[in-house]
Symmetry: C2
Subunit: 345 residues, 2 copies
């Protein structure tokens, strides 16, 4: 486990979505975060005290979390310099980037000399199995999306809490660096070797017979030309009984790919069900989660209602309005002895 | 480049498909192969002289190729022992397994002492890009399949030769260990980190403007629960103008997964076109390649004819009957100044 409390890195970031790891920790592990580190150029804040590196150490921070994401996941030179400063101040450093801290000799040497630890959260477990597609016991819900970074992890975590509030055993299964930092465990799916994508998810969410749910964090999108392979293997490995589709209505174009529009919600839902049926023939969609953070409340509620009507599924912004409609509907759909309801019934 | 001539390893294998790397070299690089190494338990032969390790070295072999594949790709203890013997006899060792030769300290030490080299063919190139899906110039054909190991590499290589025989520039782009050993270059796609699957293929088959073709070796199947993520990223990265569907009619069940039947050919073709359209909206199917090696010639020709009629596409066993029908049809479909023909026209 990575020692808390944390100092969350924002740096010079001008990409709101790129800050999602720092923001996720600020939201779901707030009590463990003492501050944020950002330069004047950074337009964003997580609402935490702005602290320098030595200052944060003085305030009790034990680990600097490089909670930023960029396509390709490289360690920029300035990031290495700042990590060196944090180490000199006596902090551990944690990173979810593809390029590993341990592959930067200056960091390794500095950490050794300072007696602190480097955490590469994106290291997949050793000895992952190849997926076998064998039907396994237990109920699993997977969040899928029209794009990357549209709220799949938030939705999964809020749903987990809503299930638990209803007395249902429910576990969050993290598949990305932010989720892993929040949960303390999981599989960094995008860093797994390609042959083992579905096998990694089979291992992450093994058979369970306690009538509880595994709520699996989705990744990417079947419609994202960079990452659809990951999303496909995740769907097959998860064998989901239920999927929840996540979408950011403010985003007209795929993240990082301005030449690709977002898919239509109904088309995206149909494609996800089609792909999922290979390993989970009875899979069903149980809800739509919208990230309405850029809309006023009236417009947001109206869009949720319209979307629910159009797709005949409960629709909410789980983070803003709670996940109750989706949680209630899912548990009703999978109630032990009742016939499967339909929305129009 | 891996020094030829080769001694091809069969060992004790009782899995015909698992020998595909050794067999591929025996077929497409026969002049570079001096013999095969097999135990009495092995029921298969590549038609090469059966040689012991020291004997093969005496016959000129410079490299022992561990040309066997198994799910998970681990180095069995007996394989390590035999590789040590080959090294002691003065041979290099090449392997396409996931588990690397260089991660076995005894092999590393023995190779160093003997002055020979270990080749891990499944090492992906460093610094692969994330796929960007940007449309790129050039014509690309991708082989896809109903399953793993149904003849995608054979079909791609025979098509390459058929294109060249028609005066068309054509290059084979290898994506698996056998293809890489045959071509001397390529990307071992199943060993690439999941986030880079489509980017690896964009790098493997860059834009070309010589009116020639890149013929890209497919991997896995969209209907294989273990590997569909790889196949999806490959389709998106390839941006194929044309796809050729490969199938083994003798195989009722997915390789390694007896609980999964093979998909219907028409369904599999439709799904491949649907997925490919994300990055290549005008993609079209140009042929079906059957592996009829377990059928007599009359039955094989009849099945090719029936399949061609049913799917309205040229169908052949490229290895047995040549790839002419598919090559002719493809070049006609993509001839510069003519309208696109249809089979029924």
């Amino acid at each position: 486990m990575i020692p808390a409390p944390y100092l969350l890195y924002l740096g010079r970031s001008d990409d709101e979505v790129g800050l999602k790891t720092s923001r996720g920790l600020a939201v779901f592990r707030r009590d463990d975060c003492v501050g944020e580190f950002r330069h004047d150029e950074c337009r964003f804040t997580l609402g935490l005290p702005r602290l320098g590196l030595a200052e944060a150490r003085g305030a009790g921070a034990r680990t600097l979390v490089l909670g930023i994401a960029n396509p390709g996941g490289r360690l920029a030179p300035s990031l290495v310099e700042e990590a060196l400063e944090a180490i000199a101040a006596g902090m551990n450093v944690a990173s979810g980037l593809h390029q590993r801290l341990r592959d930067e000799p200056r960091l390794v040497q500095a950490a050794e000399e300072a007696g602190v630890t480097l955490f590469d959260v994106r290291d997949p477990p050793a000895d992952l199995p190849v997926g076998n597609g064998l039907p396994r016991a237990g109920k699993r819900l997977l969040t899928v999306g029209t794009d990357c970074s549209v709220g799949k992890m938030y939705t999964t975590l809020v749903l987990r809490d809503a299930f638990r509030a209803r007395g249902v055993a429910a576990d969050f299964r993290a598949t990305g660096q932010t989720g892993i930092l929040i949960a303390g465990e999981g599989v960094p799916l995008d860093a797994v070797v390609a042959d083992f994508i579905s096998g990694a998810i089979e291992a992450l969410s093994p058979a369970r017979d306690d009538d509880g749910w595994d709520l699996i964090e989705g990744q990417g999108s079947l419609f994202h030309p960079s990452f659809a392979g990951v999303s496909t293997g995740l769907l097959h490995g998860a064998q989901p009984a239920a999927i929840v589709m996540c979408h950011d209505p403010s985003r007209p174009r795929m993240r990082g790919l301005p030449h690709y529009p977002l898919p239509d919600l109904a088309e995206c839902l149909a494609m996800n069900l089609q792909v999922a049926r290979l390993t989970s023939p009875d899979v069903r969609a149980v809800g739509v989660a919208l990230n309405t953070s850029k809309m006023d409340e009236v417009a947001a509620r109206r869009l949720c209602d319209e979307t629910a009507d159009r797709l005949a599924l409960p629709c909410t912004d789980p983070f803003r309005f709670g996940a109750d409609p989706i949680a209630d509907w899912t548990l009703r759909c999978f109630a032990p002895s009742s016939p499967k309801p339909t929305v129009s019934a």
